[in-house]
């Protein structure tokens, strides 16, 4: 779903407007598209999640925060949600069913290794 936002921004899919002209939006779109796909398949997940989480934090504070305090009202609810979810993925790892787990070893995520 996160990748869809990138596809909307960069590729114009899903009823998006033509590709944006501002460099911030182009960079954001590519991060959303590529990062979203990497997180979905679980490849280099922590790295991708770190960058995506940062993108969403920037998006929230630059775009949504000036519109009001409550995330429900300033349209930034999903940015907050994605930001925290990816921050958790960054610390948790990709989990058992992921390409990371296949390539590296089985015990990379927090639950598998125990803390």
């Amino acid at each position: 779903m996160f990748a869809c936002w990138g596809a909307k921004l960069v590729l114009g899919m899903f009823g998006g407007t033509p590709p944006p002209l501002e460099p911030m939006l182009i960079v954001g779109g590519w991060i959303e598209l590529v990062g979203g796909l990497l997180i979905a398949v679980g490849l280099l997940t922590r790295l991708a999640a770190f960058i995506c989480s940062g993108t969403m934090a920037v998006a929230y504070f630059m775009v949504h925060a000036p519109h009001g305090f409550f995330p429900l009202l300033n349209q930034g609810e999903k940015a907050v949600f994605y930001c925290w979810l990816f921050l958790f993925v960054f610390f948790y790892g990709a989990g058992r069913w992921s390409i990371d787990a296949l390539i590296f070893n089985r015990g990379t995520s927090a639950t598998a290794t125990g803390t």
Binding site: M1, C4, W5, K8, F14, G15, R46, F70, P71, L72, L73, E77, K78, V80, F81, Y82, W84, L85, L87, F88, F90, F91, Y92, G93, T108, S109, A110, T111, A112, T113, G114, T115
Partner: protein
């Protein structure tokens, strides 16, 4: 990178707090008119039940009190909301306005199986080893 694992549980707890509060805001908007800007008090029974689940469940999840039970109901409600309201508006979640419902549904499903985490009332009341990371 595995050294990051030890922070997974605290980050999960903060995320649970923030996301639970945002969810409670949806219920508050429906039932109490706060935060403002909702559609008013829902007229049908489904909307009222949904508002109660969102407000009560969101607060319980945010505090981490009976979090698994609250998350079960909240995730169930979001699944119903997606399929009864949003699914008929199109296939792609980004276009049928059901993206938030899916995010909440899966996050709460994860809470149901993961537990409330280390920083929660559940952990205070029932002992420290109630979440997946702690028991593994």
């Amino acid at each position: 990178m595995n050294a990051l694992n030890r922070f997974a549980d605290p980050i999960f707890c903060v995320a649970r707090l923030i996301i639970g509060l945002m969810y409670a805001c949806h219920g508050g908007q429906k039932l109490l008119g706060f935060p403002p800007g909702g559609h008013g008090i829902p007229q049908d029974a489904m909307g009222m039940i949904g508002g109660c689940v969102e407000l009560g469940g969101g607060i319980l999840i945010a505090l981490g009190l009976l979090a698994r039970i609250a998350a079960f109901f909240a995730a169930g409600e979001m699944a119903v909301a997606y399929f009864t309201v949003h699914a008929k508006m199109g296939f792609f979640p980004i276009l049928n306005h059901g993206e938030s419902a899916i995010l909440y549904c899966w996050f709460f499903l994860f809470v149901l199986f993961y537990g409330a985490g280390r920083w929660s009332l559940d952990a205070l009341l029932f002992g420290r080893s109630s979440s997946a990371t702690a028991t593994a």
